[in-house]
Amino acid sequence: MQSSLAFGSEENVLSLMEKRRKVSLIWQVVFLLATSLAILFLVLLLFSIIDSTFGYAALAYEVEPSSLVEGRQHLSEFSRLQLEETARSRLSSGILRRVEYEKPIADRSDKDLTALLEQYVVKPSVLRTWGLWESLTNQDEIEMYLQEQDQAVLTFKNWLTFDFLFADQSANPLYAGIRTALLGSLWIILITFLFAFPIGVGSAIYLQEYAKPNRLSRLLQLNIFNLSAVPSIIYGLLGLAVFVRAMEGLTSGSVFSTTVDTTANGRTILSGGLTLGLLVLPIIIINTQEALKAVPDSLRMSSYCIGATKWQTTWGQVLPVSIDRILTGTILALSRALGETAPLVVIGASTFISVDPSGIFSKFTTLPIQIYQWSARPQGAYRNVAGAAIIALMILLMILNSSAIIIRDRLSKKKRMEA
């Protein structure tokens, strides 16, 4: 009876209980909705990328394939003989001579000839593109557009092809590719790794194994946590002032040799790699520290007991058992570097180069920068090309991350075998 006095009559109590139950239920639905929203975002993100990578494209030909050979709408319908004949008769004499010089037309493959004819005779250009969703659901509008534009030819285009991966840049989105960007990205993360890995692991070892708990170590630790939260664009400014400008002679390679192409002005792969190295250094340190923390102290104690020194213990005992975690953490940090755009734009990565990087003193562009450049262009077709480049970047990241998982599994298995 006490409780009913406190809360009023029995009915009141029951209705209060009912209300509390309802509130509970409503919130549970809200939490579930928020969670579904998070999943929805991921789905939408992936969808919007796939959507632009595949879909119809309306092309206009400068020379209609049907005018080359009667009754053929596409170069792919040409027979071998027709391809060779068209190539001989339609290519301008200068180009023909160059082509024949490189490789005689009779020896070239069908695919090769088709590409030649496309580039020099047919010269397709993109009028308009549609995403996958529109291509599947909005056929009427596409039909209407085609009727308005009488010379437009509709093809279903897959923008992510092998040619796209291995072609260099081009002013025509149909021929643009990511080879230079891909090579640039790989060079950059190689430099980043070589620079940040030894320093990062070394600092972590000092902080975790050697440092005494004094003011200085606390300051160093706090500093590393702060650095890991500094916006990446600030690292770009640091790289611009230090590597590109102050150390220009070193990073452009002019100190080492006078024959090096110095048009890069310090905006080289070396500068880019070092800048990203600074960016991922705190992440590598933190991840390595976590790996070292996971090593049980009993291991260190037993090592000391048999007379090992501190370094012998660290090198011979602690590092071998934590190397799998250290490598995994490093690879995750490198995949961060692979996706970074802002710092490299700030230090002045090239926007349009078609020459492959040949070494650490080359000018460079990277995959994310290429995506940025293409996305920022107003022409619609470049959006599709950017979408394809994003898929390539994400596949590269996936390969990197799964290699981290494989390394971890392989090494931890080996460890178990030895134990």
Binding site: V23, F41, A342, V346
Partner: protein, 304 residues
């Protein structure tokens, strides 16, 4: 006869000392990065402010940023930065917090098995991809929802919402950590008093995790303010002082990227100005990070 005591003198351990010193130098290197950032930003900013066309008061209070006509007021850039960040927080904090509560208090192992990897994938996607998403998905969506004439092609709302999605996994993961580290006894005590699950969550668990949660939110805000590629692609070029999120406006980071992406000659006002703005950005985010860290250590003192 006395047995020779083994000599553990420093002489025999010279290489140990060397290795330790090398490791110490490596550790100091990270300090050097911070010093480098501070020195370079202040030095170039000093050059910027010593230019006769620029003065500090005009920089802090000016409502126009037009280097062409020597107008250097950073308020339009700051305003755009805060607009995108606030929009990002309005989306990211509630959704992130709710996901965290769901993960920590409600989800069973199977749901966690789906959700955790989803968040990890979201967190691992490069920011440039989010920028592309803002441009090709969010902006068209906003334009079809609110009208083509009202929403400009480049606008801060689209950029802000996508930054919200970008910081969501970070908020959810860190907030879940904060909520999970609240001792179980607190929950059990609340249940014993007859509290429902939601009452326990909102009246006991969340208040107990408050410092950890605020630290998370501050860090997320710092991340949103420093975010670059999304705003560079979706928020538009050209500084403009506007409160309307459907209009284009350039943020601090967007401006730095645009100017440095072009050809700037060293020692020009343009070149120095990006460092001055970089300093502003660094000071804001650095303060937020420090406060966030301070706040989260208060939490640890409470329960350990």
């Amino acid at each position: 006869m006395l047995i020779d005591t083994p000599q553990f003198g420093k002489k025999h351990r010279l290489h140990e000392r060397i290795i330790e010193s090398v490791m110490f130098l490596f550790a100091l290197f990270s300090m050097l990065i911070t010093v480098g950032i501070v020195v370079i930003l202040t030095r170039e900013s000093f050059l910027f402010f010593s230019d006769p066309k620029v003065n500090l008061v005009g920089f802090l209070t000016g409502r126009d940023w037009q280097p062409m006509i020597d107008q250097f007021g950073f308020l339009p850039l700051l305003n755009a930065t805060f607009t995108t960040s606030i929009i990002a927080m309005l989306l990211g904090i509630p959704v992130g917090l709710f996901v965290a509560i769901y993960l920590a208090e409600y989800a069973n192992d199977r749901m966690r098995g789906i959700l955790k990897p989803t968040l990890e994938v979201l967190a691992g996607i490069p920011t440039i991809v989010y920028g592309y998403f803002a441009l090709t998905f969010m902006t068209p969506l906003l334009r079809s929802l609110f009208g083509q004439s009202r929403v400009e092609i480049y606008n801060t709302a689209s950029a802000g919402l996508v930054i919200g999605i970008l910081v969501l996994p970070m908020i959810a993961t860190m907030a879940e950590d904060a909520i999970s580290s609240v001792p179980k006894e607190l929950r059990l005590a609340a249940y014993a008093l007859g509290g429902t699950k939601i009452e326990t969550t909102f009246k006991v668990v969340i208040p107990a995790a408050l410092s950890g949660l605020s630290a998370t939110f501050l860090l997320a805000l710092s991340r949103a303010i420093g975010e670059t590629m999304v705003v560079a692609l979706a928020a538009g070029a050209g500084p403009k002082l506007t409160a309307n999120p459907f209009k284009a406006a350039e943020t601090i980071t967007g401006y730095i990227v645009r100017i440095s992406g072009g050809d700037v000659s060293y020692n020009s006002v343009d070149y120095n100005s990006i460092f001055a703005l970089g300093l502003v950005l660094f000071l804001i985010t650095f303060t937020l990070n420090l406060v966030s860290r301070k706040v989260s250590t208060i939490f640890h003192q409470e329960y350990e």
